[in-house]
Amino acid sequence: MSTKQKVLVTGVIGSDTHIVGNRILSMALEAAGYKVIALGALTPAVDFVKAAVETAADAIMVSSLYGQGELDCRGFRDLCVEAGLDDILLYLGGNLVVGKQAWPEVERRFLDMGFDRAAPPGTRIETVIEWLGRDFAARDRRPHPRKA
């Protein structure tokens, strides 16, 4: 399990067309040695999950730039559980909410939704890659790794 190349599903959720940052992220993740399934812009939540099932992905990385992230991501973890991906790593990043809100509060809201990590605007790609390394290492150390 730990020797297998990790598979990440990326995309921009909902009716959001902002693709540039997501594309740069996908390229950087590929350069860091991950297999990236890039779904691109305008991706419904359910399509992330379907892609993850078929490719046996290890993590789903959701981007949202247009302020509707909170609505689009509601129930995302439940969708994953429903599809048998109970334990998949879920990341989220971008301009997640409308207006000026304190980040710790916003982060808590998304973590409560079942995301493992939430990245505020301006997060460096290096930070994300470091998170992934740490989170995967923690998962691989578990006595019974989840089945694909």
């Binding site: 297998k4 190349q5 598979v7 009716s15 959001d16 067309t17 297999k35 399934i37 812009a41 305008l42 379907k50 892609a51 099932v53 078929e54 490719t55 046996a56 992905a57 247009y66 302020g67 509707q68 089945k147 694909a148």
Partner: protein
């Protein structure tokens, strides 16, 4: 005497023959006999040959004798994949592209009930897919094990996650397994050619014998493919052309039949308008769809169900009660041919509706999505608005009193601007039922096959009623 070819279609109702003069690119004659695959195929074949001989005087010596078959239920297939819209859909498309008649499609983990159902369906071939290469292997292995333990007797074409293929073969047990490339090697990448070729090979090596078609082997050289695959090959040749002869370019073919309505297209299907974003699984350039609920005889009731009795009756200019009475006649005798002007009118309404619905389902659709930065247009399926030709084939169309009025139903309609149906194609009628013959002949003499088809497709505007 110039070289001749005999092209045979072992159909479900008739054994049909076309004798072709290869040098003159013309049809020498046609012959027809009953379909007798279930008893002794030679009875129908001999009757058809006798019929042909009667028309020609003497039978020439044939350089080629090639056959296709849709007899004994056609090539009955079951497909199994993982996610319904992904590998399960890719498997479905591979089977349809190989000319199969789909009798069951399954997704995710097969349950005990699913496996029982598959065994009861007794398909000729099962296509097992699931997972991208290096992706999910748990489900295809589960399904391979479940099928391996079952009483399923047919060969299995395995076209799923490459990393799981060896284990899946072992789990499938002693039955014949043909492993080939994944129908979806990468996420959202369709790769159906290898599976299609594998299905075709099993058909030639095994199914032709299993169905007793090879008992007529003295009368033909080879059964090359299922008839729907022969039609698809013919359509492809017509669109793409061959060395020395150019084809018609992107086109669509509609074939309303007694049990189903088939639609074939050869076109990239990419958006014809700038800025439109395609969504969903990529579309095969050569695509066949089969509408199991749209058949002029076996599924007349479901055609009526789809649009309502009122609309069918109005289109036929019949009172709804009268239309219902006539539908009842069809329901009681599937072989029934129209015997009055009223029955012909009802058939015309049924075939018009079938063509309209089948082509609309085959072609893609546009959808407007409202985003923060304004509306965006996305496309699902193939954009066929710019195909250059629409060809109609099949008895229901050929015998229609007004084929043009049927073919027009395949065209774009201002009332449904989101449906990407052909806008201004040439309309052509395959009056001689040549597409299957063209597909078979194309395997040995593509240029002759293409020129033959091009010479015999009838532009529908200048049509003169026959008979």
């Amino acid at each position: 005497m110039s070289a001749c070819a005999l092209l045979i279609d072992f159909g479900s109702t008739y054994t049909k023959l076309r004798a072709i003069d290869l040098d003159a690119r013309r049809i020498l004659g046609s012959g027809q006999g009953p379909s007798t695959v279930t008893s002794d195929i030679m009875i129908g074949m001999k009757a058809a040959l006798a019929d042909l001989e009667k028309r020609l005087g003497t039978l020439p010596r044939f350089k080629y004798r090639l056959a296709s078959s849709s007899a004994a239920g056609g090539l009955r297939m079951v497909t199994v994949g993982l996610v319904r819209e992904l590998t399960a859909e890719a498997a479905r498309r591979a089977a349809l592209g190989a000319g199969a008649r789909l009798v069951g499609t399954f997704a995710y983990r097969l349950t005990k009930g699913d496996v029982e159902q598959i065994v009861a369906l007794a398909p000729d071939i099962l296509l097992l897919a699931g997972g991208t290469d290096g992706g999910n292997s748990a489900v295809i292995l589960h399904n391979a094990a479940a099928l391996g333990r079952s009483a399923l007797a047919c060969p299995v074409v395995l076209a799923g996650n490459r990393s799981a293929a060896d284990d899946a073969v072992a789990l499938l047990g002693t039955r014949e397994v043909i492993a080939c490339e994944n129908v979806m090697p990468e996420f959202n990448q369709l790769n159906i050619e290898a599976a299609r070729a594998a299905i075709r090979k099993v058909f030639i090596d095994r199914i032709v014998h299993a169905k007793g078609i090879d008992r007529a082997h003295a009368e033909f050289d080879e059964v090359l493919m299922p008839t729907p695959a022969a039609v698809l090959e013919g359509v492809k040749l017509l669109a793409d052309g061959c060395a020395g002869v150019s084809g018609l370019g992107p086109l669509l073919v509609v074939d309303p039949g007694g049990a189903t309505t088939d639609v074939h297209s050869v076109a990239s299907g990419e958006p014809s308008v700038a800025g439109v974003i395609p969504q969903g699984l990529p579309e095969p350039r050569v695509k066949r769809t089969v509408e199991g609920d749209l058949g002029m005889r076996h599924n007349a009731a479901t055609i009526v169900e789809a649009v309502g009795l009122e609309r069918i009756a109005a289109d036929a200019r019949l009172a709804p009660t009268r239309a219902l009475a006539l539908l009842d006649l069809i329901g009681r005798n599937m072989e029934r041919l129209p015997q009055s002007a009223e029955e012909a009118a009802l058939d015309q309404a049924l075939v018009r509706t079938s063509v309209k619905l089948a082509v609309a389902r085959h072609c893609g659709n546009l959808e407007t999505v409202f985003t923060a930065t304004g509306p965006v247009t996305v496309q699902h399926g193939k954009d066929l608005s710019n195909v250059g030709a629409v060809i109609g084939t099949g008895g229901a169309l050929v015998h229609s009193r007004d084929a043009r009025a049927v073919m027009e139903m395949a065209l774009a309609d201002a009332a449904e601007p989101l449906s990407l149906r052909p806008k201004q194609p040439k309309l052509l009628l395959d009056r001689e039922y040549l597409l299957y013959a063209c597909g078979l002949l194309g395997a040995v003499e593509p240029q002759a096959a293409l020129e033959l088809a091009l010479a015999h497709l009838e532009p529908i505007d200048t049509e003169v009623p026959h008979e």
